[in-house]
């Protein structure tokens, strides 16, 4: 870092901005989940915990794995994969939750 010119520093900052903000957002969401898990502030807190985890997964997919910049076919692959997992969870849990 010390040997970098001002221009190089500017380029590095511009390229690292999104990864640093993403990591900050993920750490913030993790903090929420850890606080909820440690304090258990209300009944059925697990619903909120799973929603926070889902937000973290979407952040990694969309920003870190750059699905937003990929061509439509790759987006379709990624979307369908998680869609099938959603069907797997929804149908199985519907069975167990309604017995």
């Amino acid at each position: 870092m010390a040997r970098m010119s001002d221009d190089e520093r500017r380029v590095l900052r511009a390229h690292m901005r999104v990864p640093v903000l993403t990591a900050g957002a993920l750490l913030g969401l993790l903090g929420v989940n850890v606080a909820l898990g440690a304090t258990l502030p209300f009944a059925h807190v697990w619903i909120l915990e799973l929603m926070v985890a889902t937000a973290m997964v979407v952040t990694i997919l969309w920003v870190s794995m750059e699905v937003r910049h990929e061509p439509p076919l790759v987006r379709l692959f990624a979307g369908i994969g998680f869609f099938w997992v959603g069907i797997l969870f929804a149908m199985t849990l519907t069975d167990y939750l309604t017995r």
């Binding site: 990864p19 993920l26 985890a53 990694i60």
Partner: protein, 221 residues
Amino acid sequence: MSAGAEGAEGVGVALVSHFATVEQQRHAAVLGMWAWLLTELLLFAGLFLTALVLRLLHPEAVQEAARHLKFWIGALNTVVLITSSLTMSGAIQLSRLGWQRGMVRFMLATAALGTLFLAFKGYEYWADYHEHMMPFLGGRPYALESAPASRLFVNLYYVATSLHGLHLTTGIGILLAMTWQASRPGFLARHQNRIEIFGLYWHFIDLIWILAFPILYVVNR
């Protein structure tokens, strides 16, 4: 392909004979990695779904078992993996700029953070062993004998976390081999997309842990 992969001097991909263009080669590599990652997703999804079903079928036993999990080490390990994703993203960004030395440093930092995760995980397993929380060890008493259903959850915990650990270990091995290759002159002119493709795998390992931590450690408290 990901944004910003083209443009910097000395950065590119050598075209292999069975592709018409470099762009087609890049897209095929990304699509192939995604196809494989989705099979991995389905593998882990089955394990996570089983954990949730066990929670519904045996709530008391699963909660009792989950109280023995090292919640704070799990949280710390999540921080470690999120940081490793940041350093991996750094390596990808610098590879696009053609800054080879910085990229190699970021790759080494990523491997070091992955190793730190495994060290914390190993400590967790060691503590579990001393607390008699390994029901699959036949000759050793199990701490929760009074809650037999807890064995199902604890065994599942070991299968899921050791499978994740295996993926991470493989990832560290590949990353170190790639770092050695990437430190040689001319690597980024011929193989920049290898860094991008491996980055997808590393972020996916992070994503799996992001799911494992709440499903195994948090929601069962």
